[in-house]
Amino acid sequence: MSAAHTSLTAAPAFPFTAIVGQDEMKLCLLLNVIDPRIGGVLVMGHRGTGKSTTVRALAAVLPLITRVAGDPYNRAPEDMPDSVPASAPAPAPNGRAHPRDSKPKVERVPVPVVDLPLGATEDRVCGTIDIEQALTRGVKAFEPGLLAQANRGFLYIDEVNLLDDHLVDVLLDVAASGWNVVEREGVSVRHPARFVLVGSGNPEEGDLRPQLLDRFGMHARITTITDVALRVEIVKRRRAFDADPAAFVAAWEKEQRALRNRITRAQKAVAGVELPDPVLTQIAHVCMRLGIDGHRGELTLARAAAALAAFNHRPRVTWQEVVAVAPACLRHRLRRDPLETVDSDEKIERALQASTVES
């Protein structure tokens, strides 16, 4: 079955670096690649603005990860449990599970970008018993679901505002704990499921549950591009891609590789990026001024700013990085005042300016 997956999804995607405009969405995605703890991206915008094209283009610029060979949960060698607990499921049916004592074989694989389609059922999202084996041989084997596939990668939900409430609850649970737990009639599995949640939707087709909205670290807004030259460029690239996808992808490979290298460098550098106290204080001020509840706002803003500094080869975070990422980190966290006529971005802008003046 996995063969069908790879062969079909391997059809060339439009190169990320060839996407014209929509800089905020692209930056949000990249920052989450550099530091997954930022907590995902919600992309809201009008139809036909390239939301899903961009997300699906991301996979090709992601650096490879190291995982235990054939591990259905994409675990790194250091993430493997020392001893296999008694309740663990039977090894994967293909028998690729490694022997307990020997050092596990590793492989380099692309960061998974997993699509969660709207019609998905809970059993396929969380995993369930392998029905083929159960039906035909009476064997109880766990078949991992999409959450397993998405571990250490991205989970993408297009039209997220149309997702069934029932699945939203499951996702929120797992996203909060980083673990997926399946308990059913002797099948008892607990596996890591840390993923960057990426959702996209059209704001005119209904709103998102506030709980789900909060879960996204960043909220990118995208709009129709109105610059004629850019639009002509979009048409040209799209035509070139449609005419010969492979050649088009090859022509952009240099840019793709450059971006991939830049991401890899930033991933290594991000932990060492310095966050000076005055900047941190300013971040707190901005969030206070905007009346944002809790600390998720500050935390996300600080992480995103550090990731941006790393992406730009800067040793420390300056106010400039904070200003650049603040709207995307904060706009969905403002208290929703029904009578407010000021746009949320404008409010953030004002709060940022006030903090600049103060310092």
Partner: protein, 630 residues
């Protein structure tokens, strides 16, 4: 894993493609789609009986090698649409057998959706996903599979039935937004050709008539055009002109530009040219840009286009690519090309833009959107795990989820020492297996605010009502409730916010709050009542009116009739209120009059409406929502 070998029904070819008359623009659109399938589809406004399904089937017959023709019924369930486990075959063969859904079956051919505006948002989302990715991904019932699903979508809609899902329509390249007018001559021709065809069939000469020749010719033409297509060039100024036209028509998103360019190229290829001509740009604008217009182009400020009425636009059917003309167009700027283009196609823009699908949506008309899943009513769409209490059991999915466990449970029962002596059950079902039905209902409830926008406290009332409306929407995400707001002032009530479930839209439409003037209470009641009736026809069964007023009307329903006295106005309101009460509408009257001024009019109104009466001078938004919630 294997695929069950159920064949899709063979396409029923009714009339030949050439038999379709009177749908010329549609026919052209379908030819372009045949030449370049990446145009994704054709959407066709059509009323019943205009030969639309015949056209779609005839189109499928033009595609190479028996391309599949799949019709998507509006009441399709998710498992039929996407595909899933074929339990019967799985059990019989002892291996997992997946049955592909309709989307996968349409691969390489045509997916036909009649009355696409009645399609619910969930199904539409699946169709869009397949169109965007070219595959359909099954993740359900223990099955994980991906099937190719590249198809041309042919969709029809009757504009009278409500707006089409904009996101779906946007993915369709070519749109014919108006139904052909019921021209008697055209209808007669349709009948004549149909009869001729039947006659031929009776004569057992099917296959070698004129039409067979014509179809063969068309097929050859399409084949040639496909070969020609990569050689067709379009100049950058022409691309820019199309883009500029899209911008000046207020086309949303950037997809339309690409479709427009591809249409121009396909048109040139069909005409056997290697250069895009003015006529190609025009037909592209007609089929791609005009239908997506959300505004009329602004007239150029200084330069008035020279007498557009007296110079007829170049005839699109007979392009005349003489050398002189070619030279002339070589030197044109994008602005000039756009101007020429717009003056040629502008006449296609209807006077009332809201008759166009995208403009209609911008204005806040909702069609079949506003769907919500619920547990007891509506149309069954999917089964989910859940408690039986308050739900209906989905028998088949329950058995499906229990099936894999049967042999395991049987083995466990055999081993169990405490096994009852009674005979073992045929099927062992546990609570975990239970699947209950989820239904898709048209919508939750509709709340209509009727706000008195006259008098000194009007602005305050309006602001708080707006706040309450938005609050209600923010809390309505589970039920997908809709909210509308009617303001009454001056001569008549006005719908400021048509029924909507979008906070964004509510904020936009309620940006300006007009106040002042008389109090046309009767007009507001009437408008609200009509709105509820329309909502009921869309399946919204529950409606609540929330009136913020002191109950004092001073403008009659028909203000222009002479000699209306105060009593008549009061009686009018009372009659209306009682009629509304008899129609079983819920209502709440929030009396906003300061106590010492009140003469009890609001109380009387509440009594007539059989409504709840709440006294809240200076009502705040949160107080209003609390009243509604209680």
């Amino acid at each position: 894993m294997s695929v069950s070998a159920r064949q899709p029904a063979p396409p029923i070819v009714g009339l030949h493609f050439n038999d379709i008359v009177g749908l010329d623009l549609a026919r052209q659109a379908l030819l372009f789609l045949a030449v370049d399938p990446s145009l994704a589809g054709v959407a066709l406004a059509a009323v019943t009986g205009s030969g639309k399904s015949t056209l779609a089937r005839a189109f499928a017959a033009l595609l190479p090698d028996n391309a599949p023709f799949v019709e998507l019924p509006l009441n399709v369930t998710e498992d039929r649409l996407i595909g899933g486990l074929d339990l019967e075959a799985t059990l019989a063969r002892g291996e997992r057998v997946v049955e592909p859904g309709l989307l996968a079956r349409a691969h390489g051919g045509v997916l036909y959706i009649d009355a696409v505006n009645l399609l619910d948002a969930g199904v539409a989302a699946h169709v869009m996903d397949a169109m965007a990715r070219g595959v359909v991904q099954i993740e359900r019932d223990g099955v994980s599979a991906v099937y190719p699903a590249r198809f041309s979508l042919i969709a029809t809609f009757d504009p009278g039935d409500g707006a089409v899902n904009g996101s779906l329509l946007d993915r369709v390249g070519l749109i014919i937004p108006f139904a052909p007018q019921g021209d008697a001559a055209i209808r007669a021709e349709v009948v004549r050709r149909n009869m001729r065809r039947n006659m031929r069939r009776n004569m057992r000469r099917a296959g070698d008539g004129d039409n067979a020749d014509e179809d063969a010719m068309l097929r050859a033409l399409i084949e040639l055009a496909r070969e020609q297509l990569p050689q067709v060039g379009i100049r950058e100024e022409q691309v820019e002109a199309l883009t500029r036209a899209a911008l000046s028509l207020g086309v949303e998103g950037n997809r339309a530009d690409v479709f427009a360019v591809k249409t121009a190229l396909a048109s040139a290829a069909l005409a056997g040219r290697t250069d895009v001509s003015e006529a190609d740009l025009e037909i592209a604008a007609r089929l791609v840009l005009i239908p997506r217009a959300t505004r009329s182009p602004q007239p150029a400020q200084a330069e008035q286009p020279p007498q557009p009425a007296s110079t007829p636009a170049p005839h699109p059917e007979q392009p005349d690519p003489t050398d002189a003309q070619a030279d002339q167009t070589q030197t044109q700027t994008p602005e000039q090309i756009e101007e020429l283009l717009m003056s040629a196609v502008e006449a296609d823009l209807p006077a009332d833009l809201s008759s166009l699908p995208f403009a209609a949506q911008r204005r806040g008309r909702t069609g079949s959107r506003g769907v919500a899943l619920n547990d007891l009513r509506g149309r069954f769409v999917r089964a989910v795990p859940g408690p039986l209490r308050g739900h209906k059991i989905a028998l088949l999915p329950t058995l499906l989820s229990a099936a894999p466990w049967q042999s395991l449970r049987a083995a466990a029962d055999d081993k169990s020492p405490a096994a009852p002596s009674r005979s073992a059950p045929v099927v062992r079902i546990t609570r975990d297996d239970i699947r209950v039905k989820r239904f898709r209902d048209k919508a939750g409830a509709l709340f209509i605010f009727l706000v008195d926008a006259s008098g000194s406290m009007a602005l305050n009332r309006m602001r708080e009502a707006k706040g309450a409306a938005i609050r209600l929407l923010q809390n309505a995400y589970i039920h997908r409730d809709q909210v509308a707001l009617i303001a009454f002032r001056g001569q008549a009530a006005q719908m400021l916010l048509p029924p909507s479930q979008s906070v964004d839209r509510a904020k936009r439409e309620l940006d300006a709050l007009p106040t002042g003037g008389g109090t046309p209470l009767a007009s507001a009641l009437w408008l609200a009542w009509q709105t509820v009736r329309q909502a009921r026809s869309r399946g919204i069964q529950q409606a609540t009116l929330i009136l913020l007023t002191d109950g004092r009307a001073n403008v009659p329903l028909r203000p222009h009739e002479p000699a209306v006295d105060k009593d008549r106005i009061v009686q009018e309101v009372r009659q209306l209120a009682r009629a509304i009460a008899a129609d079983r509408l819920n209502a709440i009257v929030v009396d906003t009059q300061a106590g010492y001024l009140s003469r009890g009019e609001a109380r009387t109104l509440a009594a007539d409406l059989n409504a709840r009466y709440v006294y809240l001078p200076n009502a705040k938004a949160h107080q209003i929502t609390e009243v509604i919630a209680s």
